[in-house]
Symmetry: C2
Subunit: 300 residues, 2 copies
């Protein structure tokens, strides 16, 4: 059976979030429309988080409304807590991405409570969710934590098992929050998850901070995973860590899969100009290599 890869475009949320200067709402909408036109139909378009903490994404409700006419777009909204869920549902969102950290230290840093408490709240939230709402569960620090270092695989699996007891019909994002996962680690956790929870859809969310973005995607793919988060222009770098780039660049992943003969449904020729524009957003810290390589190849 021929396998295809699905890329979920996360630049409009994870990529734009750390950019200081406000990106005009009209520009955000234009980026989402262009990405959708290039074949990236699953897009994390924003987040309902405290606008004081993340002012860049304060216009998510407007962005959601303004892209509602795109027939192929499957817009996903990140929510860090039940208040975010309520706001997202009120804004008309039907596809939510809920985040919990496997590591207590990271979870406390993000949402000021232990992971156990977040798991209980997640269960309550799942049971209260109106019918027809699709849910994704992002397990942050699945591999490595900025505070606790490398995560024990058994510990991560136990926490995931407790989360999946609440609901197994969910897409789980195994998130390499720090970019420090390596291909062997990714292959191991992915293989175990696919074997243990055959009814659950899994996705890998990686960062290219240490240059392992594509290596980890390739490892996850070889282990049987088909879904990946990526960000055009490799946006998503931490503004407090100069040089630490962000998510794996969508254009790099598309290029790799194309060379491997794997269909992604993405038109690279349409994606490159969009990624070049995104890399030039004031305050952005772009990453990835394919933009420059393709432009150099054209000039040669």
């Amino acid at each position: 059976m021929t396998r295809a890869a699905t890329l979920v475009e996360v630049a409009p949320r994870d990529g734009f979030q750390p950019i200081g200067p406000f990106i005009p709402t009209a520009d955000k909408i234009e980026f989402i429309r262009a990405a959708d036109a290039a074949g990236l139909h699953r897009i994390e378009i924003g987040s309902f988080v405290n606008p004081k903490a993340v002012p860049q994404l304060r216009d998510t409700a407007e962005v959601l409304r303004a892209t509602a006419d795109l027939p192929d777009l499957d817009p996903q909204i990140l929510v860090p807590n039940t208040r975010g869920v309520d706001l997202a549902l009120a804004a008309g969102a039907t596809h939510l991405a809920y985040v919990i950290s496997a590591s207590d230290a990271h979870n406390r840093n993000n949402v000021r409570r232990d992971t156990d408490v977040s798991i209980t709240e997640y269960g309550d939230m799942v049971r209260a969710l109106p019918p027809g709402i699709r849910l994704r569960l992002n397990l942050a620090t699945s591999f490595d934590c900025p505070f606790d270092g490398r995560m024990d695989e058994g510990f991560v699996l136990d926490r995931l098992a407790r989360l999946l007891e609440h609901c197994s019909d969910v897409e789980v994002g195994l998130c390499d929050t720090t970019g420090r996962a390596d291909p062997a680690h990714v292959a191991s956790l992915v293989s175990t998850c696919l074997r243990r929870w055959p009814d659950t859809a899994f996705l890998f969310h990686g960062h290219d901070t240490y240059g392992l973005g594509l290596a980890n995607i390739a490892a996850a793919w070889n282990a049987g995973l088909n879904r990946f988060d990526t960000a055009f222009a490799g946006l998503g770098g931490c503004p407090f860590a100069p040089g630490a780039t962000g998510n794996t660049a969508t254009e790099d992943a598309v290029w790799m899969f194309r060379r491997m003969g794997v269909e992604t449904g993405v038109d690279l020729d349409a994606l490159i100009p969009l990624a070049v524009r995104a890399a030039a957003i004031p305050g952005a810290q772009p990453g990835g290599r394919v933009r420059a390589a393709m432009i150099a190849a054209c000039a040669a």
Copy 2:
């Protein structure tokens, strides 16, 4: 059995070669000494090519002499033809790397003759080689050719078979000359070579032009390969292709293997300052991500 990875440092040849401003001989020697001190004992320290074509490497004989006192250093000299072999032997080299392209178009561009002619010349050279000289054979364009595009695997294997008929006790470098090899392609060719020629040592030489440097090393490693060419600071970009970076950065490969629990014998703390200095060489086009990520992590 625990496997270790061997990295062959190629920045002093492949990395310095495209840099326009002449790197003072004393600086070249210092880089080689520092790399050796960091645990990189196999180093391609230069090349005997036409100094009109590659003026940067015109001081290879001097560099070879000036590093002869390092007891652990295994200096390797690149030679493109029999004249290069003669010059290298006259300079006292004992470890040669001979290059032949699998693709006729690339071979003609490099040495102005068809690959068939080069294979015959290679056989003559091998038979004339004095005893005690170690030989490496680099098969350029093993995966992709700048003129002919993707290389057919059967075609590459046939050419390699003819080369190995002359001498199978050789280290063969499978070279991704353009950086366009993908992990599936690398895994396939490597697996076939290891199965077909169990007595021959194989090595992978990759470029990070499209961001696949580490992904391809990981793929080759998983397919059973233990030896890899890398260049500190990711040097080796083509001066005629702005933004097209060069060899996979040694520091990125060391970092990845360390995370995977694989020993390389390289001291990353000693390597990073060296790579930072190399990235600042006037005219250099550095690549790789680990330098910036580690500096950012220190600053955070």
